[in-house]
Symmetry: C2
């Protein structure tokens, strides 16, 4: 590529060399999701194709940092990363995992998809199954839904009494503070779509027989509760937003932007941890000699 091509290319793609994480982070205080444009592409200028290429281009770098963290975990390090994905149906939690996390080595990923809790899980308290699923040292955990469902659907559908869900915000804050103290860096991404975009995506599922299995009639009923879910998300984003465990709003009407943005903030998080390649705990020249003698 000539000098001109390179310069033209630099005009597209990442527009801000500062942190995307800082840019997408929800400021403390009350949250009004209607102020966040679901079709915006903060930090990125370019077309859908540019965005897809930019995502692919992250593969080598994010895998490299993932392996450093993994290596640290194999040699006594205690740190891990936990990416929490939340969003309305069809917002693309699975798509982020497939296209973003899919760039990384699956050996270093621990993915957990949370469904409605079983009676046995409920009896143990809402955080029990979450603790069971935490990433081991060196791993990147990904939660497709999470403990936040216990202040989202639980609140909207009155699955528990108001004092119960109301108490959970504090329990979540205590839990996440404990995680931070234990070396688990938590990154919470709200995949923000519009109800119009959701309608298109549900239509697409109905139009394509290979996607019928992803559709449930209840998805339409849930749409009636959009305002109540929005209110519950706003409460969660306001009440459980700490500097150590920030919430990010990811505009998600454009799938390519969503995938690029989540992968980019995950990469930034890994880089900020700056895991080093572990030093040898043996004498390298000695081992070279021993090996040569075999």
């Amino acid at each position: 590529m000539g000098q001109d091509g390179r310069m033209a290319k630099e005009k597209r793609g990442r527009t801000d060399r500062g942190g995307l994480l800082e840019q997408l982070r929800v400021p403390s205080g009350p949250v009004d999701l209607s102020k966040y444009d679901t079709r915006a592409t903060p930090g990125f200028t370019g077309t859908k194709d540019d965005g897809k290429r930019a995502l692919e281009a992250l593969g080598t770098e994010v895998s490299d940092w993932q392996e450093r963290l993994f290596a640290e975990g194999r040699t006594g390090g205690q740190r891990s990363v936990l990416l929490v994905l939340q969003g309305m149906d069809t917002s693309g939690k699975g798509g982020v995992i497939r296209h973003g996390a899919g760039l990384m080595d699956p050996q270093g990923l621990k993915i957990t998809s949370f469904k409605a809790p079983t009676p046995a899980e409920k009896r143990r308290g809402f955080l029990w199954r979450i603790r069971q699923a935490l990433p081991a040292p060196g791993m990147i955990g990904i939660f497709d839904r999470s403990h936040y469902e216990d202040v989202l659907i639980a609140r909207v559908r009155s699955l528990v009494a108001p004092p119960v869900w109301n108490r959970r915000y504090g329990q979540i804050n205590d839990f996440e503070a404990e995680l931070a103290a234990n070396g688990v860096t938590v990154l919470k991404c709200f995949l923000h779509i519009s109800p119009e975009e959701q309608k298109l995506r549900l239509q697409a599922r109905l139009d394509d027989p290979t996607k019928h299995w992803k559709y449930k009639p209840g998805d339409v009923d849930e749409r009636e509760l959009w305002p109540a879910y929005t209110e519950s998300y706003e409460a969660a984003l306001e009440r459980c937003n700490s500097p150590e465990s920030p919430w990010l709003v990811i505009p998600s009407d454009r799938k390519w932007y969503r995938n690029w943005a989540v992968t980019t903030v995950l990469l930034e998080t890994l880089k900020s941890l700056d895991p080093k390649w572990p030093a040898a705990d043996f004498d390298v020249p000695t081992e070279k000699d021993r090996l040569a003698a075999t």
Copy 2:
């Protein structure tokens, strides 16, 4: 690409349109691993670059079949696939997962890396932790080492008495027959390298500070036991080789061939299961109307 380019391309790559799985499968009867060339590339003609391209080209197809199996599992299906990877140190079990399994959606993978069993695991019998790690319906499980370690290192290092490891072959056969009956298709791949190739790979780990964490001085000591491990592998490949749970020998001195071959036999296995996209369990026109009304 023009017609000529296409034709030239077809001369490279996959040479046998029949099944690679059948080609690599170990025939019943005594096994002599010295008869298997570790640098061979059965079923493939071409260069390393051709092989890498051929692997990349499998990505879409293998992901598609993976998703069909996953969809089946989400709609009542009970089938799953279990890929067992065994081989000497540096044979590339991790590399196959990174480069082959890495082509698929990580949501549909369950990867388990088995280390030495803990005392609590030992008390429960050698198959207990294996059962814990089995893939759920719709999932592709991958074992990086497995219950075969209990007739490999356990035999070579005399970790248990001979009657104990000797009894395990039958226990493994019973276990794998039970898996087959329960819808778990087991595919066992022995990644076959030469001792010379292992030496080069260990040297490479010693030469590269970013790989020191992968090296253990014990790796050199294990090399002394190469003949004993070979004998134990031959016994396992002979005594636990059934039509339902076959052993395959994957020549693995060439990493690109190893990755392509394992991914190809996994793809063949998925295709032979032929999972169908689940039919809608709702009335599609009704749902379209309901959605349109929202």
